[in-house]
Symmetry: C2
Subunit: 415 residues, 2 copies
């Protein structure tokens, strides 16, 4: 543990004590001050970001990665809007989750309280800096941020503004801090900071998330890898199925709730496979299909690896299955536990798919793209949890808190 | 990973699919059948246990540890009663945690669903075998049990009965299994079984729990270490304070919710310290005190180590503090995050203590001994979580489940 991180974490802990008892009004004022600061000092952020982009380009970074790293006025404005949106959401802290008076007269309440300190490890997008800071602060926790080295100048500029906004609003700057340390050392120290940091949230690709999950002694909330399936059942309305497959695959490809695999029931394959292949080809999608699909021109024969791939691109794996059981077995085997959809008019098929598929979200006659904090009405989200502990699915403000039991008596003793 | 554990876990996974859709009636029938089997075949369990006890005694095991290991007819009956009590509790599976109709007409429900497979690593008490199995099964999960080597014959006999009861009730025996493997290998394999086992719950002493938390790649729910404080405020009713300290320290000493530390506000120290020392000495408690306490005959001077010790015995650390802030600082520094109590008639002092102490449970004018699933009305518990993720405080049936979002539409696509 570098001395640095321990020192940063201790200052964050002290600061978090003040934040834990801050009112919603205090917190919202800071969030708006942060949004204002971003807009006022956008030039400073953009200048720092331009240096990051130039350095990354000089290192030979691919254009689509440069695009993730790049900020412009519109993106900075979107970061500010994100902070204001968090300000508009209810404060989760203090919510009474459960309450009762026990037979012996003890008053029992379970309250939402802040975690304390949240660590976030993320890849190049600098907007995660403000998204994560906004959600953690509103949920009453200090946040220690570890972005990628390629975005260090951008993140430093943004965090500097956020800290200034905290100070000017009368709260400690140490509520938001970058994790110190060169290269991978900083992230490694954060993962070993059990006792200093309460929760770690990795945001990024499958490799980053796996490495955090396997190395961290701090409790981790695993997010986001989505090998999402759409299963078109024997009893599907095929027009509906076509629209859902198109939306789930094509509407946006680089996101974890996009579909990556298509399963089609044998009974509708003869009708549906040609239609869906034509639609996908029209949309520029490469279909990696089993024999039934590969009989169509332009379909690439699928390998075993395709069933387990999160493409995040205009590619889809496609297979004909003999029945609902085979579909459920395939999904159970290959699912990453994110979002899985069935298209069917059969209540029985829908009920079985919902009950037997083990995922954060199961959709019936709806696109996997709806599994998102904003779409489901939770406001902001810090990520989509694909683990079973603590939070599963989109993690909004309530999921970024813990609880505390408060037991009040009048000298009660146990007999 | 020994092939064995993977094979056992795969069979448990298949079995858990059936259990996930079992009705409450199915599950309760099995729990009663298990209780019946324990009573009917108590002789077999007691004979196996007698061998364990004899072997442990031959190894020179201390008498109080032999007592933990030992079963008798009363304890077997209590194990059976525990299973029937779990049967009497509501089924958490299927509960709608949240539900709404979104503006676009999508129906959203968040349902409680089983974890799948729970691993439990525990020390000598063989009653944990039935407690853990009962709670996991009622919550819809298969359970892989790893008790201590000293209780292997007892646990094997008990698990054999539970598996027979499952079979006779028409459910797969593989829902309950002992983790194979000699010595520490079995536990080590269980801790590395990420992907095979969904959650790991360690039950036992601080050493066991620390080792699981630090070594496991499977998500862990940390349980039970309690360095619980009672703080007697300036505004305390001193008779109430005396009764609460007595109850929290003396009523049962070997449990995690017993008090281990006493803090007394300076303003009442002159009155209260002599009274509480006399009461504690009368009850046979050794007081490890600061200078103020150590001025009384029989009080042992406390060392720094005492503030951090979970004695689990007739010992208590005791200190006079200058004010509420000093009390809160002491608790924040030394608390294990289990249960912390304040005795005060001051609303302001109570509110500050509740807000600023970071623990699973904070008690006002009540004994720490109430922090227990049974006492708080949750029925059974598998342990008391001292971590912030997932569950904090007593973990009953709902805490032993996860959730799943079900999103139902009529061909909804995202625009």
């Amino acid at each position: 543990m570098p001395e640095d991180l321990a020192a940063v974490a201790h200052r964050a802990r002290e600061a978090s004590r003040l934040l834990a008892t801050a009112t919603r009004a205090d917190k919202d004022r800071v969030l708006h001050a942060m949004a204002d600061a971003l807009l006022t000092a956008a030039d400073r952020v953009l200048a720092a970001n331009a240096e990051d982009v130039a350095a990354a380009r000089a290192d030979g970074t691919a254009e689509h990665l440069l695009d993730r790293l790049r900020l412009d006025e519109g993106r900075v404005a979107a970061m500010a809007d994100g902070l204001r949106r968090v300000a508009s959401l209810p404060d989760p802290v203090g919510e009474v989750v459960r309450g009762s008076r026990l037979p012996n007269g003890l008053e029992l309440r379970q309250l939402r309280v802040p975690f304390g300190i949240v660590g976030v490890i993320y890849e190049a997008r600098p907007n995660v800096t403000t998204d994560a800071a906004g959600i953690c602060l509103k949920a009453g926790s200090a946040v220690l941020l570890r972005g990628s080295a390629s975005a260090l100048r951008s993140n430093t500029a943004v965090v500097g503004l956020l800290r200034d906004a905290l100070t000017s609003a009368g709260l400690p700057a140490d509520l938001v801090a970058l994790v110190p340390g060169e290269g991978r050392d900083g992230a490694a120290a954060l993962m070993r900071a059990r006792g200093l940091v309460d929760v770690l949230v990795p945001r990024g690709g499958a490799g980053l998330i796996r490495s955090v999950v396997e190395s961290s002694t701090v409790p981790v909330i695993e997010t986001g890898v989505g090998n999402c399936h759409v299963y078109v059942d024997a009893a599907a309305d095929l027009d509906t199925a076509l629209a859902i497959v198109a939306n789930a695959k094509v509407q946006r490809t680089s996101v974890c709730n996009a579909a990556e695999s298509l399963l089609v029931h044998e009974a509708v394959a003869e009708d549906f496979v040609p239609r869906v292949v034509a639609m996908l080809h029209e949309a520029g999608v490469t279909v990696h299909g089993d024999e039934r699909f590969a009989a169509h021109e332009g379909v690439v024969p699928a390998t075993e690896e395709d069933w387990g791939t999160e493409y995040l691109s205009l590619d889809i794996a496609a297979r004909v299955v003999s029945d609902l059981d085979a579909a459920i077995d395939h999904v159970r085997h290959w699912s990453t536990g994110h979002s899985e959809a069935i298209v069917t008019e059969s209540r029985r098929a829908a009920d079985r798919f919902v009950a037997e598929v083990d995922a954060a979200a199961v959709l019936v006659n709806a696109s996997t793209r709806f599994v998102d904090g904003g779409e489901l009405g939770f406001g902001a989200e810090i990520g989509i949890s694909t683990q079973k502990l603590h939070a599963r699915g989109p993690m909004g403000l309530p999921e970024m808190t813990t609880t505390k039991y408060v037991v009040s008596g009048h000298g009660h003793t146990r007999s």
